[in-house]
Structure formats: C-alpha cells, structure tokens
C-alpha cells in the first residue's frame, strides 16, 4: 500500500501511509486509539476506498470497491466490530457471504450439512467450545463471538489475514490459542496483519512492527530491534520517529504487498 490517505469529513484518519506485507510474515500494527489502524486495514479489505494512494499485490495495482473484491485477491479480515449477524446462528455467521452450496437443477442450494461439519472443524482447530451451533450469536460470550469472527476469516482460506484486535475480549487461555494459531498461519506461508493494544501479545507473535500515530507511520522495525519501551514511546509520541528497517527491504519492494522475493528478506 503506497501513500494511502483517508479522511472522514474533517477527520484525517490516514496521511500518506506506506505499508508492506510479505508472505509468511506477521506484521503488528500498533498505535493509540484513533491512530488509524482499523481504517488502514479496512482500506486493504475493501470496506473503505482511500482518498489517495494505491494498493499493489505482487506488483499489480488493484482497486477494491467492496470486501468481496478484496476477498477475490485472497484477503480476509477479522474486523474489530466482528461484523456478526446477531440473530443468526453460528454456522450461518461463519459462512455468511461465502456459503457452501450444491447445485440442484441449476439452483444453488445451501449445503447445510457440509457447512455444519466444516464449522465444527474450524471451531475445533481454534479449540473453541460451544454448546450448540444453533444458538443465535447474540447469546454467546464476547470471546466466543470473536472466535466465530476468526473462523469466518479462516474459512476463506485467504493469503492475507487481517486481524483487528482478535484477542480483545478473550481470556488468557483462549488468546494463547489464537497466538499459536497466528504462528501456524505464518508457517503455512500466509501473511498476517495483527492489531492489538496488548504489546506483550504483539511482541510474542509478530516479525515486524509498524507504529501509527495520528494517521502517520511513526515507527517501523523488526521485533528483535525493538523493545516495548521504545514502542510505547512511539505510540505516545515521546519518541517522534524511528525507522529501523534495513534499506534493502524498503528499496527492494517498491510497495508491493505480496512478493515471493520480498519474503526472503524477512529475517527470522
């Protein structure tokens, strides 16, 4: 993403933000409330259209006009607000918009049995325990609802997964599992954007960190080169700017979002 800007009325949410993501890499996106994190990933997911700036995938310039467009390019998102349909049940929520269907006489008929089965598998993968798949999701706990939102994104088998505070309302055990899971996604070669206010979680799971403040990128670097103190200073504005990225990464990628060559440059 190159030189992305977005304003809501008079509020400038993002100014000239450059953001890169490589395969097999987990990037943490941190910043104060209102720093523009959610806005940035919503632009990447096609929810908002940027006022300025472009998105490139593997060198190709793309334009997303809806979340469905972004999904076609392999981008799936766990939104901060979860985007669940409260009165609908667990299975319906996981598959909403991407239902499994079977073709009966040219009609696309919901394959409820297969969806149930797959929903069970997904929930099991994340070790989320639910008494029933038939309850409306409004009846579930905050953590369970978050789990369902994550299952929905996983079901899309995307190359890029954006997670906006996926562990915000989860208990210790549950968030551990999510962190484990993010690591597994990285092993599968997926790219993950991980947004969280919990810096401890962030440091344990990400490869690289991007700090936003007032809609600008004020800091970037690999976790090995950063410590929590520095990041907090960046978030709060005590430290104004810090860029610890090697020139090779910044120059070599010319703003491509996903790039096989680029991923080699990611240090582990």
């Amino acid at each position: 993403m190159k030189k992305i800007s977005k304003a809501f009325g008079g509020v400038i949410a993002l100014r000239d933000v450059d953001f890169r993501l490589f395969e097999g890499e987990v990037v943490g996106l941190v910043g104060d409330n209102g720093a523009g994190k959610s806005t940035l990933i919503k632009i990447l997911s096609g929810v908002y259209i940027p006022d300025k700036g472009d998105i490139y995938i593997g060198g190709e310039r793309v334009e997303f006009r809806s979340p469905l467009d972004a999904w076609k390019y392999g981008i799936a998102t766990v939104y901060q607000e979860l985007a669940l349909a409260d009165k609908m049940n667990v299975v319906e929520n996981i598959f909403l918009g991407h239902e499994l269907v079977k073709n009966v006489l040219g009609l696309r008929i919901l394959d409820k049995r297969r969806m149930r089965q797959r929903a069970g598998e997904l929930l099991k993968q994340l070790l989320i325990e639910l008494k029933s798949l038939d309850v409306p999701v409004s009846k579930l706990s905050g953590g369970q609802r978050q789990g369902i939102a994550i299952c929905r994104a996983l079901n899309l088998e995307a190359r890029v997964i954006c997670m906006d505070e996926p562990t915000a309302s989860m208990a210790v055990g549950e968030s551990e599992r999510i962190l484990d899971f993010v690591r597994r996604l990285r092993e599968q070669g997926k790219a993950v954007i991980f947004i969280s206010h919990n810096l401890e979680h962030v440091f344990r799971v990400v490869d690289r960190l991007v700090v936003l403040r007032h809609g600008r990128v004020v800091g970037e670097g690999y976790v090995e080169d950063l410590d929590k103190d520095t990041v907090v200073k960046l978030i709060t504005g005590v430290l104004e700017n810090l860029n610890l990225l090697g020139e090779e990464v910044r120059e070599g990628t010319t703003g491509d979002l996903l790039d096989r060559n680029g991923s080699k440059k990611v240090r582990r």
């Binding site: 997911s45 929810v47 809806s66 979340p67 469905l68 999904w71 998102t77 939104y79 607000e81 979860l82 985007a83 669940l84 349909a85 409260d86 009165k87 609908m88 049940n89 319906e92 929520n93 598959f95 909403l96 918009g97 991407h98 239902e99 269907v101 009609l107 696309r108 008929i109 919901l110 038939d134 309850v135 409306p136 409004s138 009846k139 929905r152």
Partner: protein, 350 residues
C-alpha cells in the same frame, strides 16, 4: 434457545391478544416446548403456534355467534379473499426482513391493475395482459429498491413518497373514472374451484411455497436476514447488500403485479382507490405471521396464517353485522398489538 430465556406464552397473551383465557395458555405451553425442541429458530415458530391457537379460538367464537360462519361456502369466500393480500404480505415480509418496508405496495398494485385492465380493454392477447401485471410491479419495486439501496434513503420515506407518486400515476392513467366492463378472459382461471378450493388460492400457496424454499434453502434467505440484522456487517461479511436489497423490493413488486392481475381478473373493474389500505394489512399479516418489524427474522410461510387470520376476522365481523368502520379499528388495533408484542418480547429477551 436456552431455557433461561424461554419466552413464556403468557407474554404473548398480554402483549398480543389481550383476552386469551388462561386455560388456552395452559394448553399452549407444552405445545410451544415441543416445538422448541424440534426447531431451533423458534422465536418465529412460537409466534406462529400462538397465532394458530388464537385462530382456533376465533373460529370457535364466530361459530357460536353466527350460524353462517362455519359453512363450506363461507370458508371458500375467505379463501377467495386471501390471494391478493397474501401475495403482498409474502413480498412485504421479505422486504421487512431486510429491515425495510414498502408503503407504496398498494398503489403499485393500483398502477399494475390499471395497466392490466387497459390492456384487456384493448383486446391484447391474454398472456400479454397477464404479464403486464408482474412486469409493471417489478419495475416499480425495482425503483424503490434502487433508491433505498443506492441512495441510502430510509425505506419508509422512499416508499411513502412512491405511494403518492404511484397514486398520481393512477390518476393520470384513468382520470377520475373507473375502468369497468372488462372482458371475462380470466374467468376460467380466477373463478374455478379445484376440490372446492379457488384456483387463485392454490396459485398463491404454490408461489408462497416456492418462496419459502428460496428463502430457507438458498443463500438469498441468509443474505436477506443478515441485511436485516445489520447491513454494514452483512457487507463486511461479503454479502452484496445493495443487489440483494434491490432484489427484495423487486420481488415484492412482481408479487404485487401478480396480485393486480388476480384482482382485475376477479373484479373486472378497477377504481382509482383500488387496494387502498392494503399495504398496512400486508404489514400486519407479516408481523402477525412472525416477521419482526425490526427486520432480521421472520417467516414467509407465516404470512399465510397471518392473512388467513385477518380475513377470518374481517369475515366474522361482517357476519356479526358489525359496521365496517369497526374493521379499521380492529385492524389498526391488531397492527399496533402485533408490533408492540414483537417489541416487548425483544426487550424482555435481552
């Protein structure tokens, strides 16, 4: 649904139908429990079971009060009066499940009816006249849907405006006159009974059943409900919300058009005020049948029961010789009661 939040039937009686005796409530209790176990989406089912109980009660009361009520002929009359309202109500329930509403449906029915009538008077082939109904309705519905979905105007505002526009169109089409003396082209279709059941009613049931199928078994139904839950969330989940919304209004339009065709075939005249008040009746039937006024949940098939209930009530009031002005009072009260019980029920549950 967990037992702790189980909706006790007494609540319906209090919110919905004021004078249900407690004996009935006691009989209903186990029925509702049983239904809950079978069907997970029981909110709607519960409402329907209660409604069926009320219908039985009404039938009982009317039978006692009028000797003409419990006759085959009278029930045939009720069935004959159902299809037009039924089609409107089914379409309305789908629109309402998206969180929308269409006040203009009755006026669209008028426009379509007049165009169908004019076509018959011109001596067009029967199939042309028949098709003009759904096509007109579909176009008018699509216009509403596009304004709602793409311009983001509140459905109630859009369709209230549309109602006045369509009414004006009716006036432009016929002036202050009637269309009358239409040929009997469609008599064999609309006036015949099969096994004692009027063909239009069978037609209505078939359409409703196909829509119920569409609604339960294809992604369309999920998308409609998701939009009614939260349009924004549905969009984030990947639903093409605008397209689906337009689809819902267009579908209602087509059903309105079919209703117009049945109406013209049956009455063979169209006056300017045709179908006035029918939108509200359709909304009432949908709500009574289990569709939430807030959107996000409901039932297509429930409309059949809702419409039957309304027509039964009106029929009974006529047989009892109650002046038709009371009709409005009862219907108005019913709508308010149905909506209130829906809202009260929600508040209690959350």
């Amino acid at each position: 649904m967990s037992t702790s939040t189980t909706f006790s039937p007494c609540e319906i009686s209090r919110g919905g139908v004021g004078d249900t005796p407690s004996l009935l409530t006691m009989i209903r209790q186990p029925m509702i429990r049983k239904l809950q176990n079978i069907r997970p989406r029981s909110t709607v089912a519960q409402k329907q079971v209660s409604l069926l109980a009320v219908i039985c009660l009404l039938i009982g009361v009317f039978s006692v009060l009028s000797p003409h009520f419990l006759t085959l002929k009278n029930f045939q009359t009720i069935l004959r009066n159902m299809p037009e309202l039924g089609l409107l109500s089914v379409g309305m329930s789908i629109v309402m499940m998206t969180g929308g509403i269409d006040i203009s449906a009755e006026a669209a029915l008028g426009v379509a009816a007049i165009l169908v009538g004019k076509s018959m008077l011109q001596g067009d082939p029967a199939w042309v006249s028949a098709l003009i109904g759904p096509i007109t309705g579909g176009i008018l519905g699509t216009i509403n849907g596009v304004v709602v979905a793409y311009f983001g105007v509140l459905p109630i505002i859009v369709t209230l405006g549309a109602m006045y526009v369509w009414r004006a169109v009716i006036f432009l089409l016929v002036g202050a006159r009637w269309l009358s003396g239409l040929p009997r082209t469609f008599d064999p279709l609309v006036k015949t009974f099969v096994l004692g059941i009027p063909i239009p009613f069978i037609f209505f049931l078939l359409i409703t059943m196909s829509l119920e199928f569409l609604f339960r078994k294809t992604p369309f139904g999920w998308h409609i409900l998701a939009i009614g839950n939260s349009e924004y969330s549905a969009r984030l989940a990947g639903v093409r919300t605008r397209r689906v919304t337009v689809g819902a209004y267009a579908l209602l339009g087509v059903l309105v058009g079919i209703a117009a065709f049945l109406y013209v075939g049956k009455h063979r005249n169209v006056e300017m005020t045709v179908a006035s008040g029918m939108s509200l009746e359709a909304i009432a039937a949908a709500v009574i049948g289990g569709t939430s006024i807030l959107g996000g949940e409901g039932s297509v098939i429930g409309c059949v029961i809702g419409v039957f209930f309304i027509r039964l009530l009106q029929n009974g009031l006529v047989l009892l010789g109650i002046p038709s002005i009371w009709d409005y009072l009862v219907l108005g009260g019913l709508i308010i009661a149905a909506i209130l019980s829906d809202l009260l029920y929600k508040r209690r549950r959350t």
